[in-house]
Symmetry: D2
Subunit: 333 residues, 4 copies
C-alpha cells in the first residue's frame, strides 16, 4: 500500500510526454567506438523507454511527442504501435527537423558513453497547442521527463501538459533525466526544473540531479530536498545514490529503501528507465514503496544484462521470475 | 483599508525587475513620424516608469535590471540615481548588447504609436544568477513586468526573482505589459504569463491581456479570470476595460470601481504605468481599493497631459492637488 | 584627363548599392552623449551620402537598396526622391526588419564617435534577385560599399550587382567603408573584400582598410597594395593616409597627390563620403586625378564644417567657391 | 594528351578541401530504411571519397578539412591515414560540433536515397586562417567541392584556398556536388558557385548543377555554359547528362565523349566521386580526355557494384582489368 490515489474511470493508465529518438548501439562491444563498424537501431529516449516498459506490463499507455517526417520517424511510430502504445498524439514535424540519435559506446560494463545528435531534433519542436488535453484527462498518470524542458517550444508543451494534468487531477511523475548537452546553462536548467517539480506528485532523480536543481540554495541534503518538494505538490521523492541504492521519501517524513539484486551487466544504459517503469508500475498496483522499488530494481537488472534499452524492457512475469531466481540464488555475479 | 499585508521591517518599499530602455519622443507632434525631425531622449520601460513614479511618491525604491555598456546605458543609470532609486542591482552588459529604443509618434491625442528597437537589447540579458536575493528579501513589494518574460535569460531571471520573493514573503505585483513584438507565439506567451501569475498577489492588466493568457481556455469573463488566479496566490486582480474604466476584483468575491477624472490629453503613452504607480502607492498606504484606484487614475491624467512618461511622473502632492482641482471643477476637457 | 573610360549612351550617370540608414545627430555638441537630450534625424549610410552628393552635383543618380516598412524607411525614400535620386530599385522589407541607426556623439571636433544600431536591419536583407540588372546596364558608374558585404543576403546582392556591371561594362567604384561591428571576423571580412575588389576599377580606402584586406599577406606597402589590384581590374587605387593626405595610384605606375584645404571643423563624420563624391564627380568630368582629388577634398571640408553628413552635401558651385575662397586666403583655421 | 599543364617540382599530386563525414549504409538492402535494422560505418563526403580514390591510384594526396573531436572524427582521421592521405591539415574542432552523417537507403538499384545529418557539423567550421598555404603550394592539383561553400566559415576557407592556388599556380578542379539541404536559397548558391567557378581550371558537374548556377541567366545550353567559364579560367568543363553520358568541353571549342561500360549495379551512390577520381587521374597522367573519361567511367562501375563508396574505391589495376573484362565481353548486365 502507498498513499498515491490515482483518479478512477480513466481509459488510459499511463501517458508520457517528451523525447522520442533512435539509439544506434555498437554491435562490437568492449572497445572504443572508433573500432566498431556496425550499429543496430532501436527506439530510444527516456520517456519512450519507460512507456514501452509500462506497456509490456500490460498497462494501457499513450505517448505525446513529435517525430521527424522521415524513415527514422516512421520507424519510431511503427515500433510504438507494435508495442500497443497509443500514438494519436505523436505529431509529425514538417519543418525538416531530424530524429535525435544516440550512438552508444560500450568500452566495458562500467565504462559506457553516448555520442548524441541533438541539433534540430523533432522531439523538441512539440508546441503547447499540439498537446491533447483530452489524452491527459483520460490518463491516471502523466510522466514528464527533464530533457523535454531543454528548449522551446517543447518546454512550453510540457508546462501546458502539467497545467492540463493539474486541471484534471491526473497524477504527475517527473523523471529528472538531466542531460547537460541540450541546455544553455545550469542556472536556466534549475529554474525550469524547479517550476516543473513544484507541480509533480512523484519526483525521481539522482542526488546529482537534485543538486543541480538546488544550485541557488545553500543546503543540499536528502532531507532538505524532499522537504522542499513536499511543500509543493510532491508525495514521493526518490533520490538515487548510485551504488548505495535509492531512497524513497514520503510526505509523512518516512524514508524507504529496498534491497537490490545481482546482474550480469553488459552496459549501464537503460537502468534508470527500467527502474522508473518497474517502480511506477508497482505504485499503480497499490504495492508498498519497498515492493515497488524492488520491482524497479529487478526490471533494471534485466535491461542492463541486455544489448538494448527499449527492446529489452521485460514483461511483469519476467521481473517476478527474476526476483524469484535471485531469491533462489540462481543469479550471481 | 485593503487586505494586502506587507512584511514589516524592510528597508526598501518597492523593487521592480525588468525593462530599462530609452524613449525618443518626437518633439513635433500631431503629425506622422516621417515628418518629424527632432526627438527628445527619456528613460523608459514600464517597470522603470513605475519605479520612478514610486520614488517620486517618496517610497524607498530599487531596480533589478541590465543596461548596455554605452552612453544610453550610462544615461539610464544616472537618471535612476538622480531619482533616488537604488541601482546596486542594475548590472552592466559586456556582450555588446544595445539599449532598447521606443520612438514615439503622436499623430493626435488618440492616435499614438511606437516604433520599437528590441533586437539584441541588454535588458533581456539579465541572468538568474545576477538577481540579488537580498534586495528582494529587503523589499515589501516586488513588481514584475510581462516584457521581461519574453526571452531567455531575462525570463529565467524573473522566475528566480519570484522564487526569492515567495521564499521571503515579499508581496508580488505583476503588471502584464504584453508587447507582442518580443514574443514568438501567443501560446508561448500564455504559458509563461500563467506560470508567473500563479505566484503573484496583485495582477494588473487589460481585458485583452487576460484574454491572451487564457488562449487555452474556453470561457473569458472577468469573473472566471479573477477566480482562476484567486485559486493560486492572487488577492487583487485589476482588469482594465479601456474607456469603461478598471475593475478591481478581490478574493472575497467583491468588485471595486473608482471614478475617473478629466484630462487635457497630449498622448496616451504612460497612462498604464502612472496608474500602476498611483494604485500600488495607495495600496501600500493601506488605503481602500477605491481610493487607491482614484489616485492611480489621477496620476495617469497628469502623465498623459505631458510630453514624456518617466519624467512626467508626479509627486503625491501633485496628484492630491489634481484630484482637488477636478473636484472643484477647475479641470474640464 | 584621366584614363577611366565610361560607357556611352547611358541614361544614368551614377548608381550606388548598399546601406540606407538614419543618422541621429546630437544637437548639443562638445559633450558626451549621456549629457545630450535631443537629436536631429538625417538620412545616412556611406553610399547614400555619396549618392546624395552626386545628385547635388547634377548627375543622374539611382540607388539599389532595401528599407524598413516603417516611418524611418518612408522618410528615407522621400528624402532620396526629394534629392532627385531614382528609388525604383529601393525595395521595401516586409519581414519586420528595422532601419539602421547611427547616434553621433561629438565630444570635440577631433573626438567624435558613433553608437550604431545594426541588428536586424533592412539594408542587409537585399537579395540578389532584387537587384535590377537593367538599372546597372543603364549606368555609367556603379558604386559598392563594404558594409553591404557584411551579411547575407546583402553580400550576395552586391556580388550579383558586380556580375551585372562586368557583363554590361559599367565602371565599378568600391568605397571600402569597413565597419568592424557588422562582421564576424577579420578573416571573413578580408576574403569578401578581396573577392569584390578583384572586380573593381576604382578602389578607395584608408591604409588601415587595405591592411585589413591583406591580413593573409606579408608585405603591406602602398606599392604592393596597388600592384595587387592592378593585376585584377583596378585602374585607380586611392589610399588615404589620414592627415598626411590621400595618394591616387594608377596602373601606369604613377602616384598622384593633391593639396588640401583649411576647414572650420565641427565633426569628422562624412568626410570620406563627401571626398568620394567629389573625387568621382571629377573623374566622371574627365578631370585630372589631381583636380578630382582637390575637388573631393574641398567637398569634404564643407561637410565637416556642418552639423549633418547627407544634408550638408554641397552643390558643385559651392565647392568651386570654397576652393576659390581658400585660394584667396578667406578661409583659415 | 590533354592541354592541362601541371606545375612541376611538387611533392603532392592531389589535395582536396571540404567535407569529411560518415556514411551509415543499411546492411539490409532493397527495402525502405524503416525496415532495416543494422548499418555499417564508412568514411564519406565527396572530396574525401575522391581523395581516397586518388590515393588508391598511388598518387601522393593530402586533405584540408575539419573533424569533430569525438569517436567519429577519430575514425575518419585514422581511415585517411591508413589510406596514405596526409592529414596534417585536417583540423580538430573544439566547439562541440558533430560529424556529418549520411544514412543510405537502397530500395532498389535505381531507387536510392540519403537521410542526412548536417546540423552543426565540424566540416563546415573550417576557417580561412586554418587553411595551410604551404600544402596548396606543394600540390599539383587542388580539388574543391561545392558543399564546402554552403556555409561560413567553410565558405571563406574555400575562397582562401582558391586564392592560394591561384597565387602558386596550382591547377584547380571544381566538383560542383550541389546538395540543396545545406543552402538557404538557390540564388545564394548560384552567386558563390559562380565566384568559385571563375577561378577553376576544370569544372565537373551535372546539367542540373550548371542550370542552378545559371539561375540569373536566360540561355541554358552546354555550349553557353562552357563558353561562360572559358572566358574566365576554365580549360575543361565536363557536363554530365545522366544516362546519356558525360561530355567534356575544351577551350579550343571541341567536345569529347567516351564510351560507357556495363555494371551490376547495387546502388548509385559514389558514382560521381569515383568518376571524378578516375578522370582526374587520367588527366594527371597526360592521357587524352577520351581515355581519362573512360577510366572514370570504369572506376564508377566498380564502385556502384559495391556496398560502400569510399571503401570500394578501386586501384588502377582493378580499373584497367575492369575495362579489359568489359572489352572481352565478360561483364554484361
Amino acid at each position: 500500500m502507498n498513499d498515491i490515489k490515482f483518479p478512477e474511470g480513466r481509459t488510459l493508465d499511463f501517458t508520457a510526454i517528451g523525447r522520442l529518438c533512435i539509439d544506434l548501439n555498437a554491435n562490437e562491444i568492449n572497445r572504443p567506438m572508433e573500432q566498431t563498424s556496425t550499429f543496430t537501431k532501436y527506439v530510444g529516449g527516456s520517456p519512450a523507454n519507460i512507456t514501452i516498459g509500462m506497456s509490456r506490463f500490460d498497462l494501457k499507455t499513450a505517448f505525446i511527442g513529435k517525430i521527424a517526417n522521415d524513415q527514422m520517424g516512421r520507424f519510431i511510430r511503427t515500433y510504438l504501435e507494435q508495442n500497443q502504445i497509443d500514438t494519436s498524439n505523436v505529431v509529425n514535424d514538417y519543418t525538416g527537423a531530424v530524429t535525435g540519435l544516440a550512438f552508444t559506446e560500450i568500452k566495458s560494463p562500467t565504462d559506457c558513453s553516448i555520442l548524441m545528435y541533438r541539433d534540430n531534433v523533432a522531439d523538441l519542436l512539440l508546441t503547447p497547442g499540439e498537446v491533447d488535453e483530452e489524452i491527459i484527462a483520460r490518463s491516471k498518470l502523466l510522466l514528464i521527463s527533464g530533457t523535454a524542458l531543454a528548449q522551446s517550444p517543447s518546454r512550453e508543451a510540457v508546462f501546458q501538459a502539467l497545467q492540463y494534468a493539474k486541471k484534471h487531477g491526473t497524477v504527475i511523475a517527473f523523471d529528472l533525466d538531466y542531460r547537460p548537452y541540450t541546455w544553455k546553462s545550469q542556472e536556466e536548467t534549475a529554474v525550469y526544473y524547479n517550476l516543473a517539480a513544484e507541480k509533480c506528485d512523484i519526483i525521481l532523480g539522482t542526488r546529482e540531479e537534485f543538486d543541480m536543481m538546488e544550485c541557488f540554495e545553500q543546503e543540499h541534503s536528502d532531507h532538505s530536498t524532499a522537504s522542499r518538494w513536499f511543500n509543493h505538490s510532491a508525495q514521493i521523492v526518490i533520490i538515487k545514490h548510485g551504488k548505495e541504492g535509492s531512497i524513497a521519501y514520503t510526505k509523512d517524513g518516512a524514508s524507504h529503501r529496498a534491497k537490490s539484486f545481482p546482474a550480469k551487466v553488459i552496459k549501464t544504459f537503460g537502468a534508470g528507465d527500467s527502474y522508473a517503469a518497474g517502480f511506477l508500475y508497482g505504485v499503480m498496483q497499490g504495492w508498498t514503496l519497498e515492493k515497488s522499488m524492488e520491482f524497479g530494481s529487478a526490471s533494471a537488472c534485466i535491461v542492463i544484462s541486455s544489448h538494448s534499452c527499449s527492446d529489452a524492457m521485460p514483461r511483469a512475469e519476467q521481473v517476478h521470475e527474476y526476483i524469484a531466481r535471485c531469491e533462489r540464488g540462481e543469479i550471481v555475479v
